[in-house]
Homo-oligomer: 255 residues x 2
């Protein structure tokens, strides 16, 4: 089944928040969904209610060839979760080195997870350049580049358009059909945000899946370790999330 | 002269924004300042007015042992800038591998830059774990961990307190006296933000250098590629920045 990965050359844009809440929305539509955390920050689990002290996971132990089936967690939402697992800076860098030398450490379990025809996989990526992104992108049915409607993200639009953030040159053609964009934390009443959003919409056209407004309900959901559709199903951000998921579904047949 | 580096286990918290504007504020107080971009995102230059198409830099070519004096830029603010330089994901990963194999590629020019007794260096780091952070932290007089007043950052407070984001165990004792925290994008009128800020202030006590309010002037400064003290010297964020710089100056003698 397809893999959707949330990535971005920019930090703090909402990759983890969108990965968790899109996984939940897909699950509510009847789909079996696995949420995979490939960011050493290990934050995806917090959206699914795992306690802060729970440091177990999958990706942090890839060098020991763990069986992914032993690391999966059932979560109250019904989404199956593969947490990253806790790791310090030295552990995170050692993992990147191990993946550089032996890409199969991640590629093999990824193929095994994707072999299940009924399971949709949503992956959360680290910000910026990562070894994991170079290994996951070739397997992804869709790569969602998340951006804010601000100048910091606008400056990175050329990185995304050119494919440089996935690896320039021949890889660009490979990903062209599978790259989509999601705008997050839109503030419609802000002149700057509206202008940045318009510029992104013009540049990406039909590749723009949707835009999620900045909504305190999103921050409150994370603060109480709940999913947005649990805490505030009627919120503006929840409506935007539903539209984004419709955008994802509409784009999928073309994959 | 001392090196101050802005780092964080979390993305999008304002590392680049604070590095640029603290560098400018220090410069205005009469100090010679060099701003060093060690993030492949190459965004520090945008705060100093370098055009988006200007892809030259220093760190992106470290494997070729460039002379840092040839890569410096004079900027209108008087801050001397060493831009990172443009690089795609493959180039960024190759650079990390080169630094792993040959740490001196960065350590040697860093020592040369820091040998100038009159030059203060402010470094912008990538989000999360980076090879560059492991090489820069031992040379830093101060490591400023930037956090937002939100649940995403609050969850990472243990990473910072324990020293895990700099490398646990013995390194923690090494950095303990040099680690400081800055809170950014505070929204005093938001219950969540105020609660998160109080919890961070309690945990870090005197290590908290200061807090910068979320202020549209900051976003507008970046959108017009100007520094905050040029665009909006009377703004609330500008007042907070001045207090933060006083906090840095007060903490320096103890370094
Ligand atoms: N639409 C939204 N409205 C309000 N807050 C939001 C929204 N989207 C995300 N946030 C908040 O923004 C912060 C950053 O989001 P998140 O951690 O998901 O970003 P990220 O891109 O995964 O960051 P990193 O680069 O560190 O991995 C979180 O506190 C989150 O709750
Ligand atoms: N105090 C503030 N008030 C309003 N906006 C802010 C403030 N600080 C930062 N910003 C905005 O937040 C966005 C993120 O800031 P910045 O790019 O400096 O974060 P960063 O931590 O360097 O991100 P990355 O992890 O991608 O390197 C920018 O658009 C910036 O203008
Ligand atoms: Mg994240
Ligand atoms: Mg930055």
């Amino acid at each position: 089944m397809p893999l959707i990965c949330f990535a971005s050359p920019k930090g703090g844009v909402g990759k983890t928040t969108l990965a968790a809440n899109v996984a939940d929305a897909l699950r509510r539509s009847g789909q079996r969904v696995l949420a995979l955390d490939l960011d050493p920050q290990n934050a995806l689990r917090l959206h699914f209610g795992l306690p802060l002290q729970d440091n177990e996971g999958f990706a942090h132990e890839l060098a020991r060839r763990p069986d992914w089936r032993n690391a999966v967690r059932e979560t109250p939402s019904g989404v199956i979760l593969l947490p990253h697992g806790a790791v310090d800076i030295i552990g995170a860098l050692d993992l990147a080195t191990a993946l550089e030398r032996e890409p199969e450490l991640l590629a093999a379990p990824l193929r095994a997870i994707l072999a299940d025809p009924d399971l949709m996989v949503v992956a959360d990526m680290p910000p910026g350049a990562s070894r994991a992104l170079t290994l996951v992108a070739p397997h992804a049915a869709m790569i969602v580049a998340v951006l804010l409607a601000d100048a910091g993200s606008a400056a990175l639009v050329p990185e995304i358009e050119s494919g440089r953030f996935l690896g320039a040159g021949s890889m660009t053609a490979l990903f062209a059909g599978r790259l989509r964009v999601a705008l997050n934390q839109l503030e419609p009443e802000s002149r700057l945000s509206a202008a940045a959003a318009e510029s992104v919409a013009r540049r990406f056209g039909p590749r723009l899946l949707g835009a999620i407004r900045r909504d305190v309900a999103v921050a409150e959901a994370l603060a109480s370790q709940r999913l947005l559709l649990d805490l505030a199903p009627g919120s503006l951000a929840a409506q935007d999330l539903a539209a984004l998921v419709r955008g994802i579904a509409a784009a999928r047949p073309a994959m």
